[in-house]
Structure formats: C-alpha cells, structure tokens
Symmetry: D2
Subunit: 385 residues, 4 copies
C-alpha cells in the first residue's frame, strides 16, 4: 500500500442494516481504508443521519446512488473514491454496479451478484470493458482454514475427489416474520428485490461457492427439491439438492432458513480417494483432515504447519479465535491489493485470490438451475457453464 | 422373566465373524439368556471349533441350519431353544428364518431382512402364520436417546415436522479390499449374497429405519443417486437421496462406505415448526434439542429429566457412557419380553417396542426404490407402502 | 480359557445396588464366567430374592459372607467357585477379602481396597501368603484409549513428563440426599462405612490411579484442600490438590461430588517435553495427542494405527462406541487370564495388566496423605511409598 | 460519540510487535478512533518506519515516550490526543502511564499493569489525582458470553458459589526459544522487563481477572507451586495454585506456557449450590450452563435470550463467530464511552464496565502473593486486599 488509506463510499448500509455494518468493519479493520462518502439510504435525511453516525462529511451523503455516482465522479483526484461498496438488496446490485463501473470506479459488491443470470453475464461484459476491479463478497472463502482446505485439495493430498457434502442451515425465518415488518426478512422473501430464489439465493449460493472454491470443481448438473414451509411466503425457504461435478464427483447440498436452532451452519466435507476434509463455519479456526490409516488431524489456524495462503490471512496467534469479521476483512484485504494496483495503474497481482464476476455468473447459473429443477418437480437439469 | 435363562442357538457367527460376536454379547449381557446350540459355520469342523470356543456342547454344534432345525426341533421341552439368532450373510436370512419359524422357533434376525422385497413380504406371511416372535436387529433404535428423540416427536414438542437430514457414512470400503480377501467386504460387495444394493442395503437401510423410528413418518417417494466409486466393485458404495415423507416433510439421506475417515457416522436431525433435534451415533448418550428462542439443550442419558422409555433402557448412571453394545442389548432385552411371553403362552406386551417384520418389509421397499431410482438415472420413484 | 466358564460368587450387589449390577454385566459380558453363588445381602431373605432374580440356585444364596465362605469352601471341585467378587461398602472389603483369600479363593474387589492404609498393607500380606489372584476394580484403566495413552508415554513419545492435570468431578451429592435415605449417598458419606475420606476416597482415588497408570509416576508429596460444602455432611465432598511426582513432574488433581452438572467427568491431561495427551472418560473412544509443531491428532479406538495393548481390549470396530461397561469388562477379562492360570496351577501371564493389591496400597496411601494434609490446613505432606 | 473520531497515540507496537497490532485493530474496528501519533520504537528510524506503515504523519512519530508526551502535550486542542495506548514490555507501563496521566492524557494500558504491587498502588494514586480515564486491557472480559456469565452469577441463578476452576494454558514456550532470539519470548522471560513472575504474570493474571470478573469474589489466600521447566529460563513457566475466596468458595488455578499443544486455553468453570457455568476462550461464543435436574444449556452469543450486557457488545448475529479481536474491541468501545465523557467534561457513565487501575492493583497483589508462596515452598499466603 502506498502512503495513504484507500477512500471508499457505500451504497446502502444505513442505520439498521446488518450487512452494511459488517462491510464497514471488514473494510476498515486493518486501517487500510476509510469511508468518506455514501448513499446510505434512498431517504436523503436518513442517508445524512447515517453519514453523521459514521463521521462522513454531510456533503458526501447522498439520497441515491445515481446522485452519488455523478457527484463523486466530479471530485478532484485527491478526493476521489478508490472504490465503492454496494450493500443494497439484490435488485440494485446490477444497476448500481454497472453505473459505478461505467463511471470508472472499482466496485465491491455483496452477493448474489444480480437478480438474474442474464444480468450477471451483462455485468461481466461491463467489468471487462471497464478494466476496473470487481470483487464479490463471498466472504466465507476468506477464512484461513478454507484457504488451507483448498491448498490441501490442490496439493493432491485428498486424491481424486469423490463426494462433497455441503450445507448451509439457518433457522431465523422459521416463522413468518416478514409479515411483522422484520426488515431483513422482508426483502429476502420478496421476489422483486431478492430474485427467483429465496433461501437458495441468499445462502445456498454461499454453499455452492464454498464447495467450488475448495474443490475447484464445477457442478455440471443438479436436482433441486425446493420448498416453502412457511405459509404465505413467496420464495423457497428450504432446499435439498443432489449434485454432479465435473470429473465424476457426486454431492449433496442442503440449505434451509427454517431449520430451527441452526444459526449460521455452513459446513463442508470433501471426500477423496486418499483423504477427506471437514470445515465448519461456526468453528472456523479448525480444519479436520481424516485418513484411512492414520489418526484424524485437527489443523488449527495460526500454527507453523499451516500453509502459506492460510498464513497470509492470519492476524493473531493460534488459539486466539478469529471469526466472521476477520474472514470478511481478509476478502477486503485481498481486494485492496487489486484496487491499489489498479489505482497505481499497475497490473493486478498474479496470485490474486479474490471472488469476482466469474463467481457471480457461476452463482447465478447455480440459482437458475436450482429454480428450474424445482419447477420441474426436482428433475435433473444442467448448470450453465 | 421366569425362573430360568432363555436358551438360544445361532445360525452363523463362527470364528472371525463380526456381527455374531456382537449378538452374543448383546444377548447375554444382562444374564437373561444363554447360548446352547449353533450352526456357526457351513464347515462342520469349523462349527464345532466355534462351539468349543463358546462353551456350547459339541452335540449341539451343526454344519448347517437345516440340520440344526431338525435336530433342535426334536429336543425335549426342557432343552428346547427359546429362540434362534440368524447372523449369516443376507442371502440366507430368508430361508433360515422361514425354516425356524416353521419349526416353531422364535427368531431374531440381522438386517436387511431378506434379499428382496418379495421375500420380505413372503416372510411376513410366514411370521403371521407361525404366531412366533420375529425381531429384526435395527440395533440403533435401541439407544436410550433415540427413544427419547422419538418420545419428543410424539409429544408434539417439535411441532409439525418439516425436514429430516439423516446420514450414515463409513470409510472402510474406500479401497478394493474385497479383492484382498477381506471376508466382511467380500460378501457385502457380492450381489448374490448381499442383494441388489451394497452400501444402501448394508447401512442406508439403518438410516431409513432410524428416521422412520424417530419421526413416525414413512418415505413416500425418493430420488437416489447411487454410485460405485471403487473400480471393479459390483455394488454401490455411496448414495445420495432426496426424500419426501407423508405429511409433507422433506429430507436428505446420504450414505457412504468410501467416505474416508468416517467410521460409523450415523446421524439424524429432525426439524419441526417448533423445535429441532439432533442425535449422533458416535456420541450416543446425548440428544441435542434446539429451539427458536431459548437456549439449546443437551439431554444426557441417565438423568432424571429423561423420559420413561429412555430410562427403561438405561443400565448405568449419567456420565458413564453406554455404547453400541448396550444399545444392541436393549433390543435383545425387549425381544426377551416378547419371547418370554410367547414361551409362556401369554399375549405379547402391549407396549412392545421391537423392530420386526414390518420394519423389514419397509426396509426392503426402501432399498428396492433406491435401486430402481438409480437405474433410471436418479429419477423420482414411489416407495411401496 | 479351558473348556468351561469360570464360576463366581458375589458378596454384596443385591437388589438396588448400583455397582453390583455393573460387576455382573462386566464379568459375564464375554460369556467367560457365570454367577453361581452369592451373599447378596445381609438380610437372608433379600439375598435369596436377589439370587432368584439372578438365576442363582437358592441353596447358594447366603445371608453373610462368612456363611458363604464356609459353605462354598466345602463344595466339591466340580462346583467350586473360581473367584469371589466383593462389592460391599468399603468397610467390609478388608474382612471379606481376607476371609475368602484364606479359604483359598481368588478375589475381585471393588475400590478403595480397605478402610485404612494399615488394612491395605495387612491385606497385601494376606494376598502374598495366599498365592491367590487379587484384582482391584480400578475400571477406568480398562479403557482401550487409556491403555494407548500409557503405551504412548512408555514409548517416550511425550519426552520427559512435566505436568499432569487430572480431574474427577460429579454433581450428584450437591444436596444432602443422604438424609433423604438415598442408599448410595448414605454409606458413602458415613465414615464408618466409607473411611476417612468421602469424595477423595470414592472417586479421587480413581483419578490418582488413572494418573499413575498412564504416567507410571508415583506422587511423592501433595497438598490437599478438602472441603465439605453440604451442611451436615460428615465427609469431604470436594477436594483440590497440588501434586509432586517422582522425577520432577508437577500436577493438579481436583475432584468433587458437588459440582452440579458434572456427571462422571474423569479427565486426564499429561504434558511432556515433546508432546501431550488428553483423555476424557465421557468420550472414552478418543485420545487426543498434541504436538508443538504438527497438527493435533485424534486417535480413535478400533483403528489399525492403535497399538497392540489397546487392540487387545477392543471388541467392536471404530466408530461403534464402547463405553463404561466394556472398559469394566476388560478388567475382568484380564482378571480371567490370571484366574484361569491360577486355577490351572500355572504361573500368571508375564504381561498381566491388572490392578491389584499394590494399587490398593498406593490408593490408600494417597487417601491418607490427602486427609492428613487437609487436617493440617492443606499443608504439604509426603505420600507413603 | 460526538461528531468526530477519537484521536490516539501509541507507545510501543512497532513493526514485529504482536500486541500492538491487536490494539490497533481493536481500537479502530468500529470506526470510532484513529491513530495519529506514536513512539512505536525506541529506535527513532524504526518508529518512523512504523508510522509510515500505519499512515501516521512523520512529524508525530517519536523515538521515546518522553519526547512524545512533551510534544503531544503542546499540540493545539484540535489535534490533541484523546488517549494514549501503552503496549510496551511491562517495565515501561508504570513510567509511561504516569507520565501521560500527568500530562493530562487518558491512558489505555496493557497488562500486567506494572512491575510491582508498589508501583501499581502508586499508579492508583496518580490516576485518582489526574482525574483521567485509565483502562487496563484485561481483554477476555470483553467477551459477550463472559458478560453473560457474570450476569448469571449476579442474578443468583448459580446460588452460593462453591468452587472455581480456572485455567490458562499455552505451549509456545515449551522450548528455550528466548535463546534463539524470539522477541516475544525474550522479554517475557526477562525479570527486568517482565517482573517477578513469568507465566503467572503474563497469563495467570488473566485467569485471576476472569475469575474475579465473573464471580465477583476476591481471592483471600492462595498456595502456589510455580515451576520453571525449561532449563536456563529465569522465570516460572508453569504454575498450579489452590485458591480460597471470600465467602468460602474454593478454587484451582493452573497456568502454563509449556503445555505443548495448548494454544490459548483460558477456561473457567464456576460451580454454585444451584447451577454451574463453563466458558472457554477458544469457543467464546458459547456459555454452558449446567443444572442438577434439567438439561444442560448452551447459550450462544447473539440470541434473543441472551441478557442486555452481552447484547450490548454483540456486533453480528448468532452463528457468525466473533473472536478475540471483537472481545478486545469491546473493551475499547467501553473505554471510548468513558474517554468521550472525560473529553466532554462530563461524568463517567454510571454503568461503566471497564477494567481499570483497581484491577491492576488486584492483579499485582495476586502475582506477588503467588511468587511469595512459591518462594516459601508453596505455602499458603494471604493476598493483599
């Protein structure tokens, strides 16, 4: 990094938002970036109030991302935003990201990347054309032990991969809280703002991304039994999928937002012909590796035996637990490497390990395949490459 | 029990057998029964050697179950076997069980009950005609905390059931050990002795039985992706299934014998509209109950707050772990209640909690549906009622 | 074993007893021994009733161990007891064991071995003089993974031992249940029947035994802060000890019977200069081994990588949990090797791994040192060799 | 907070320091404070290099805390530091804290507060005289579930406290790495920089603080067996203590830095007459509560049933693990409430929950008592009030 903190603005993330606060902590945790502008809310006063909370100057608080893009693009280089963070409901990802890219800003965007696969592909074009950095916050891949898992698979230690079991279970939507005005629930269960899938888009896509990141394998076809358990809800709140991967591995992906008592249970197991691994998001500092003929191993973040890619995202020693926010911040830290290079007019780092628009396209292909399968009574369907 | 130990004989279970020894320990653990006869092997000398190991009189060691049935049926009442335990490979369950029932013996049989659904149905007829006790050793339902789980579901504490996730994963067949002459592997991977399914018949059927026992729900249709990962193997060694239950619950069942590092990972989760539960065979003394708005509870075997059906199968205080053998012995203890009644000419206990021929028929219907689905490329198929 | 089951009788263990039933299951689990006589209760009718429950002939049910010793000693060789199991409250261990040894019977005795160190030493003389087998049921050392732990220490894998942390915590005596007539509580809190220590004698001595068994090290001095938390109780119900071992290792031993929510939490950690290990009785199938510079290992019972002494006491495959009763039965199985040899007039096996009178003497020395320390305000005192 | 971020400077924490980076992350995580000055190293060039890394202006990088205090005290109000963070080795805490307090700065100081109890008491005088905020970073009490534990004890749910078992075990000093120039090891094992105790001062004091915070009880006397296991080391690297608390509770505290395989195992159990609790730093999002006659409960951070004091320090939803850094940041967030009040000339919040100089004095009294006890052969000694 060169001599100054990166400057960023936010779209969304005002008072009462969950994920906006997470992004701010993650982006600023390491003291490498500072928030200086924002269209925090579509209500201008609310946006200004949020700006004040966040020590953002009133003149850089906007009532819409369009206003923000125009105004910020006009600022002098010494004040110019190095990147924009988009943390709105899903429906605004595509127009906002497109607009900022077209105005020459690097973009960090929450997932799922767009409302539809078509939008995702269009955005891929825009990203390519813009030459800007586009990072998609599939934050769970920021965990050190997820990186260790991926490195293990790449090293061949697991042999040929045979089976993937991935799960993302939550219980907070077990009742119809959207009708009681719970804001987080309301937009996630609204097709207009969330997209064609509910649970499968909100969290199932994290499971898909995690499995792909660790195994390096694409899902080629799937069979998805999606259900809406809560009466009156308009989108799926539970789904069970069978998966087939390139190369012959098989898998199960199940996800729920009505699994009472589950909090944020994202878990992955990968079985190979030589060894297996297991990682659980609720115990993120451990990676369990299992062998046929020697003791099970527990690899713990921060130890000397952990590989380089995991060490690089390790802030504190073993036994001092890192958590969700640190993993999220790892993604930002990697994004900063790319953004700093872009700002300096240099090529992106060769070893960049950052989820981007390709992950977004793959995620939307997954969601659309799942929805299509479900509509056909859980038939097998191909997943668009 | 009345004044004497029950007498039993075995078919199978000679030197080197795994499950035979388990049955003997389970049957004799509580000092209520004693082994006095057996066709331990089809090799008469080997059968006699096993008899000697087991302190069984040489004259009651037989070279075939046919010989045993004829000879034992001719013994005087004071020596007569109260029941026969069948622990051969699957292909002999049907003929042996049929023969002993027809000779008037109560039967305890290992699972899966027969080679085919047709055989299972025929055996059901024989059982009914004989008036004898037929117990099927779905031993995992013998666990105290499985009984507690079932009682919780029955009490309505979980509300309407929504989702079932059940798994049975092992790794011991991850390589082609059947070609190296491993006896346990050899028959399990041989269609002639094992039946139409490998992994799904050997252990998937335990998962099905456990889910049905706890939830009280029948699987109405399923979609099964069965795979043989080890080259040259003749039966499936891995399977992933989507399930639909009567009443609208959905589920996932996955099972493997090539999941390296898994030992005997049979796990069940049941999610309802009010609460959820989780039980893991490798930690059998605990039942985890999860709520939407109060702390997760860990119910531990042997405590006063555990219900009556679980208490009845509890031998030792909380914190003194009971395991696989005690659960297996619980099934025998329940069988003895039935057998003692039958021997005494009394009706079976009203509250008998013993897996029997109906479980066998359901299990075979499950296996046949899974195999049929897989043969159709993992299509949805109904499960015969 | 030679051609027949071993015959045994019991002193104590009638209806309502806890540990008597445990001994019976453990002794008979493997089909190597059968119960044929007993002084189950000091009330002759109650003893006969228990005998009937246990299928023991009425003429071999006695109202006192003295009567039993005399009558059984007079039986012909074909009926003669191979061993006697003593499971009374502590105060009868010494006279009963002495009497049966003097009548030429092998003895299996519950712990602690006697009421006092002086009795234990006197009994050691009697055992030596008698030439009979004397086994003391420090059952926790029967666990396979405890044997693995001991083997690891002996192999030198831990380097020089530095620190031992051992704990045995229970909560069942958190209230004054002895005043409500709870039988198990009543004798354990009565100095006349239990001895000079309560908790420290009942379970602290198991912790001492486990630590010594695994480390091979004797405690040379200790400092014991013993407390009676429940008002009116006559013996300690909680104790915290600092330990110094021969060779320089230091340690902590804490034990409680008023630690609410603890069930049977016997846990051991041993730290060496090269590696460390951890074992927990409530998860007995695992042994955790920790290294300075490589991943933590979980050794699980029943796997091929586990050493021979642990394999020898393994009945069922990995992942099929063995528990408290199997560990207890392992001790019996080892006792049977010794008893069968003694009965056959042969020398005891060279590799016998059986707690006996020396463990009893060490245990009583530990208890007396703890009580002496506590009486001096938790001063340091030597432990008699 | 009022309109601007708080400004702070650091003493220590330059390149290569561990705890300095932790403080920076913790202080800045919530975007409420910014680092603007520092004496990061006693080597002026190194201090300037660190400043550049941290985006601190070169003119506010100092070669000594004395230089920094003088220069920063002279700055105009608009630039003035709101607080100074001291993260040097222990020997500089007292002089640096005294100097900054005397120059009118609020101070956040790492623990242990000073080298000696006398210094701690003198500093207490200085704090009182200065009227400034003095926060001591006993960071583990910042964990949400530690606050929940404390609230539970205060509510009376545990009844009368009987027993405390607290442990802080690490293994990183198992070998003589200080002789190899490991910087963190070097000063911690040097009496001149660390004080009279090694392990007991570095981490044992955290255990003491945690126990006192949760129970509200002071240790009145202790018996400490401190050992130096690594040859040549000049301070204790392991210690086992018996504790007596005001009100009659007893306890065990053991701590080690040579416990191979332990990473940062700080664990607390508190047993009362009605219930018990357990918290483990390596699994900080859970609090286990155990009862005599109802199921064990697992309280998990972020759920609605968790009390207000824990909720107040919760950033993200249940199941999204918070870790060491968030707990540390919680302490800073509470310090900011106090500092903002002080800066605004207002009284400190009534409900302030912030470790300060009294904790420092208590910690030094604990350390000195432990060392005194150990020097007397682990005799019982009183702990100064």
């Amino acid at each position: 990094m060169s001599g100054r903190k990166l400057r960023f603005g936010m779209v969304g993330g005002g008072r009462g938002a969950f994920i906006g606060a997470v992004h701010r902590i993650a982006a600023q945790m390491d003291g490498q970036a500072e928030l200086v502008a924002g269209a925090f809310s579509s209500d201008p006063q609310r946006s200004r109030d949020s700006a004040a909370d966040l020590f953002v100057a009133a003149e850089r608080a906007y009532g819409s991302y369009r206003e923000m893009a125009a105004a910020e693009a006009a600022r002098p280089p010494s004040e110019r935003l190095d990147f924009v963070v988009i943390v709105t409901p899903n429906d605004q990802h595509y127009p906002a990201a497109t607009l900022f890219l077209e105005h020459g800003f690097n973009v960090v965007c929450d997932k799922p990347v767009t409302l539809t696969l078509a939008e995702a592909r269009a955005l891929r074009e825009t990203v390519a054309r813009s030459g800007k950095v586009f990072a998609l916050t599939h934050n769970y891949t920021g965990n050190a032990m997820v990186k260790q898992a991926r490195a293990l698979v790449r090293s061949g230690a697991l042999g040929t991969l045979r089976k993937v079991v991935v799960e993302y279970s939550q219980g907070w939507l077990a009742r119809d809280i959207e009708s009681d005005g719970q804001k987080q629930a309301a937009w996630r269960t609204d097709p207009a703002r969330s997209g064609a899938a509910g649970c499968m888009g909100d969290i199932g896509t994290h499971a898909e991304n995690l499995a792909r990141y660790v195994t390096g394998l694409r899902i080629t076809e799937l069979c998805a039994d999606l259900t809406t358990f809560v009466p009156g809800r308009r989108l799926d709140d539970d789904g069970n999928l069978l998966l087939r991967f390139e190369g012959g591995a098989r898998g199960v992906l199940h996800s729920s937002q009505v699994a009472i008592g589950e909090e944020n249970n994202l878990s992955l197991r990968v079985y190979g012909s030589e060894a297996s691994l297991e990682w659980q998001q609720e115990h993120p500092n451990e990676l369990i590796v299992k062998y046929l003929d020697r003791p099970r191993e527990i690899l713990r973040r921060g130890n000397g035996y952990v590989g380089e890619t995991a060490q690089r995202v390790t802030r504190i020693p073993a036994g001092h637990p890192e958590g969700y926010l640190e993993a999220f911040a790892n993604l930002y830290r990697e994004a900063f490497r790319a953004i700093a290079a872009e700002v300096a007019g240099k090529p992106l780092p060769d070893d960049l390990d950052l989820p981007g628009i390709d992950d977004g396209v793959a995620g939307m292909a997954f969601i659309e395949a799942a929805v299509a399968s479900a509509r056909q009574g859980a038939a097998w369907v191909p997943v668009a490459a």
